[in-house]
């Protein structure tokens, strides 16, 4: 059985040998290069822009600005473009780094050099640089498109319940600007041929990109092909079309040659999104026995000046714990910031930091163990959908996590655990992420040489999805994974679900599963109908498949290979499609993935820096398709959130709002030495209500709650409650020694 085996990644060899081809590696004959000029000011307008020196520089083919750019087609809103303004739209400047010009030249160096020669005369206006400066503007957001979550909601009477509660806490939590900081910068290679456009681009959703690109360039979608090979890190920032993709296509049309545009490392921090700063005010009321009575959660996040973009940090508030009343209010405040983007664990990441920290603070107020407090507020059903959760093994996750971690050794109060010069602290948090899904299509072809191929447009963004989907196809067809090829990342292929929102396993996985089963079924029927087949005349349910062979389940030696069957019948192949339908779920349940995090931190008392020495994560994600890629993804998610908890911050200048750490030297992500022992395990129980494979999304729930678990451990170690991430050393020097 291929499913459940710890298979190595199918693209592992290419990646470790350097043979793997990413978008920036794509080459076409005659290709030339574009470079972007970003605004040096955060607000204002271009009074004049002088491109004469740039145009005269060696190798330059074109310089485009708002004054001479070709006309855009459509509108950003109608096309559901990420921003409300197409690049180079006009002379107005709304954020630092905004594109003011694009240079196209014969080499990358020539383009970069000429970009430096573009002289801009700015009219500068004062910027709103920080969330604090923006707070007077806090307002209820107007959604550009359909609302994704309630921005104002009350269930029960939270104010009255708070007033009546035995214990109340009121706290403020903050998260900073976070960058996705992918290793791979946004890259595009655009090529026109006979009115058709081919775009190689770094994308988490090629079919989603196509109509936007086609619309903005004024060509029918069927004349646009989008290709995304291996993606070198995305974390949500490649979910949408960004300016450079459109600009590369414009440039290629302008100069009549293929144009490559790879943004610079600095532009990675301003050109394709970040998570804006979020302020969260939480009021929590509970009774002495620990039962939660009310949570009132008010958030304000920074939004670009041109449109409202609310962050869903209230996502966990009403759905994680049993509550008698809930109140949420989501507001946004305008800042001169580059356009944000959805980021791995949107809403749940920052939201669970606040809720998970507040629960911890409450546990000390009440004198109840943090795990026990969560158990007492276990939620059996989705409170808004009013349906029981399917596959909720959260209590088992607590038990297994506490056992593996040794939670019983935890001292009841902070500053009680020392080891030499180190303070030692234990912390924990729950994890939860609603199980999103979307329509997905895939094709599986069984061929007369005994191999098979999966075709679906999904992108490999580093999660191992090509491997797990190959296993799914192997499970369905009974053909070994090493005999199965994969074609992906191309709009000429059937449309998968996007590779964001932890959807691949559930949605695309189901499509591949159904396609594989259908292909096998067609083969089985062919055999049954074929008088020359050893399986002739058998009832369909008696036909099994394994090792590339169909056989009689009651007499396994009776059977034949796909190869023999197809060749004898003169069939080159069997091609079948699978479709994941949104109606495919069991409607009696609500769906989410769950988990529990346990963290040990150590803090040297003389030089206080938080070290995560042990972390235990236990997750309930239904069936695990591949323990190796699953563990890898969970460890990666924990490290990712560890960075956000302890060091990641896209520092902004307090006067201009410009990011002052736009480099991986200064934007600190964890290095290997920062990562202690990470123990990942699963409470594995297939959730067939969610999907026929019984498997659910994994990529995000593993990172939800880690921030709180670490912050809670820091408090337990040293008695300092940090409510303002990241927990850098400057926040630990004060306080008792």
């Amino acid at each position: 059985m291929a499913i459940g085996r710890p298979l190595n990644r199918v693209e592992a060899r290419e990646k470790v040998t350097g043979a793997a081809r990413y978008t920036a590696d794509a080459r076409l004959p005659g290709m030339v290069y574009a470079a972007l000029v970003g605004s040096a000011v955060s607000a204002g307008r271009v009074r004049a822009i002088d491109t004469t020196r740039a145009e005269a520089a060696p190798g330059v083919l074109a310089v485009l600005t708002h004054l001479n750019r070709p006309q855009w087609h459509g509108t950003p809103d109608a096309l559901r473009y990420q921003e409300t303004r197409f690049p180079l739209a006009d002379e107005h400047i709304h954020h630092h780094g905004q594109y003011l010009a694009m240079v196209v030249a014969g080499t990358r160096e020539q383009a970069a050099h000429a970009a430096d020669l573009v002289a801009v005369d700015y009219e500068t206006r004062p910027a709103v640089p920080t969330l604090d400066a923006a707070l007077p503007d806090a307002h209820q957001p107007v959604w550009r498109f359909e609302p994704e979550f309630p921005t104002l909601l009350a269930i029960g009477d939270p104010e009255a319940m708070l007033a009546a509660a035995d214990v109340r806490i009121e706290r403020e939590y903050r998260t900073p600007y976070y960058s996705h900081a992918p290793m791979e910068p946004h890259a595009t290679l655009a090529h026109w041929a006979g009115g058709s456009l081919t775009v190689y681009t770094t994308s988490q959703h090629v079919h989603g990109d196509r109509p936007v690109i086609a619309g903005a360039l004024g060509v029918p979608p069927d004349r646009v092909r989008v290709i995304s090979s291996l993606v070198g890190g995305a974390f949500g920032n490649k979910t949408a079309v960004w300016g450079p993709t459109l600009l590369a296509a414009v440039a290629a049309r302008q100069v009549g040659r293929p144009v490559q545009l790879v943004v610079t490392r600095k532009q990675v921090f301003t050109c394709h999104g970040h998570q804006p700063p979020i302020l969260q005010r939480l009021r929590v009321g509970a009774n002495r026995d620990g039962t939660l009575q009310a949570i009132v959660h008010h958030t304000v996040n920074g939004t670009p000046v041109l449109f409202d973009r609310p962050e869903g940090a209230i996502s966990p508030t009403g759905t994680v714990y049993a509550l008698r009343s809930v109140g949420v209010r989501v507001e946004v405040a305008r800042m001169h910031m580059p356009t944000p983007a959805t980021m791995r664990t949107p809403g749940d990441g920052p939201g669970m930091f606040a809720v998970g920290s507040a629960l911890d603070e409450l546990s000390y107020e009440l004198g109840i163990d943090p795990v026990e407090l969560r158990r007492r507020n276990h939620l059996a059903a989705h409170p808004l959908e009013r349906k029981p959760w399917s596959g909720k093994q959260l209590l088992e996750c607590y038990d297994e996590g506490a056992r593996r971690f040794g939670w019983e050794r935890r001292a009841p109060r902070p500053r009680m655990m020392r080891d030499g010069g180190d303070w030692v602290g234990f912390g924990m948090s729950s994890a939860q992420r609603l199980e999103h899904h979307g329509p997905a299509r895939a094709v599986v072809e069984i061929r007369d040489d005994g191999t098979a191929e999966v075709r679906t447009s999904t992108q490999e963004i580093g999660t191992g999805n090509l491997t797990t989907l190959t296993q799914v196809a192997a499970g369905g067809t009974g053909i070994e994974p090493d005999r199965i090829g994969f074609r992906s990342g191309d709009t000429t292929l059937p449309e998968s679900s996007p590779t964001y929102g932890s959807r691949t396993t559930g949605s695309t996985g189901t499509a591949v599963h159904l396609a594989a089963l259908r292909a096998r079924q067609v083969a089985a029927r062919l055999a049954i109908a074929d008088a020359r087949s050893p399986l002739h005349g058998l009832p369909e349910e008696r036909i099994g498949a394994a090792h590339g062979r169909l056989y009689d389940v009651d007499a396994p030696r009776r059977g034949e290979t796909y190869r023999e069957l197809l060749r004898r019948n003169g069939r080159r192949s069997i091609v079948e499609q699978g479709f994941h339908d949104l109606a495919g779920r069991d409607p009696r349940f609500s769906y989410a993935t769950f988990g529990a995090h346990f963290t040990e931190v150590r803090i040297d008392d003389t030089l206080r820096r938080v070290r995560v020495t042990r972390h235990v994560g236990v997750f309930a994600v239904g069936r695990v398709l591949n323990p190796k890629t699953a563990r890898n993804q969970a460890q990666g998610g924990i490290v990712y959130a560890l960075g956000g908890a302890l060091m990641e911050e896209l520092t902004a200048d307090p006067v201009t709002g410009r990011f002052i750490a736009p480099a991986l030297t200064d934007y600190h992500v964890p290095v290997n030495a920062d990562v202690g022992e990470i123990d990942v395990s699963f409470v594995e129980e297939p959730d067939y209500g969610a999907h026929p494979l019984g498997a659910k999304g994994l990529g995000e729930v593993v990172a939800v709650g880690v921030h709180a678990s670490i912050a809670n451990a820091v408090y337990h170690a040293i008695g300092i409650r940090v409510r303002d991430l990241p927990i850098t050393p400057d926040k630990l020097v004060a306080g008792p020694r």
Partner: protein
Amino acid sequence: MDTFDYRRPASVREALRLVAGHPDAAFVAGGTDLVTLLRDRVRTPGRLVDINGLPLDGLRWSRDGVRIGALCRNAVDDPRLAAAYPVLVRALRSGASPQIRNRATFGGNLLQGVRCPYFRLPEFACNRRDPGAGCAAAGGDGRLLGIFGTSAACVAVHPSDCAVALVALDATVVVEGTRGTRRIPVGDLHRLPGDTPHEEHALRPGELVVAVEVPARPFAARSTYVKFRERASYAFALASAAVAVHSEHGVVRDARICLGGVAPKPWRAHAAERALRGERLDAATVEAAAEAATAGARPRPDNAYKVELVRGVVRRALTELGEK
């Protein structure tokens, strides 16, 4: 990046000739810092003189100490160096990443640019980059900036770990110019910003660092380097201390304490050294020295935490030496 004239001389004499009379010429060795400054147009030399072909690498030992070639890479792996000057090897190993250490040189390490984000982003005003332009860091985010030796014109910190250790070892740089050879104590190599932060070091135009001489001192072998940073590796110091102590009969005769990550140059903590001389290296002395190391600190609200870090790195380093 701007265009420049690129030269690769084969001798020191030729290198000096190539920069003589070219005030916009710059030497490049490992390039680990200069290339990023070129790329971001923080530095815009008209001529780049690549000295990697010069015979300036290798260590030369003598009774008086060791002479380290300016092109010696920061990944220098020499057991004798580690035994004679532990503080130096620890400082080198705490810096950058293995890839950068393999490439970066001693001369370049000493002369790397300051680590002020406002210096490195040309969109901001910076007196060091552009004399008289003003200092955006003054009203900006100063969490990483200096608490000693800064001025109204500049609050940047020098990032080198190696230089901090070399100051603690009384090391000297040997420079060659068309007018001959000079020796400059490493402690005098970097200048405090005052009103002229663009005058970063004591080299005269056209001079080339050819070597570093580290003398044999009684305190050199009992020395260490403690670096504190935001993550476990591959980050500049928030604060660091190079400490060397010579004791006789349990009493400190001589000591060096030099701080990194807190000033525009390696910051010699003379008061802390005085607190050690004539004392036994016990907990009380360590505490007194750690406190004295903060003398003269002028932090801002956003980097006041560095004062405590200074106490911490000095305390940690002295405690480590006291246990030896």
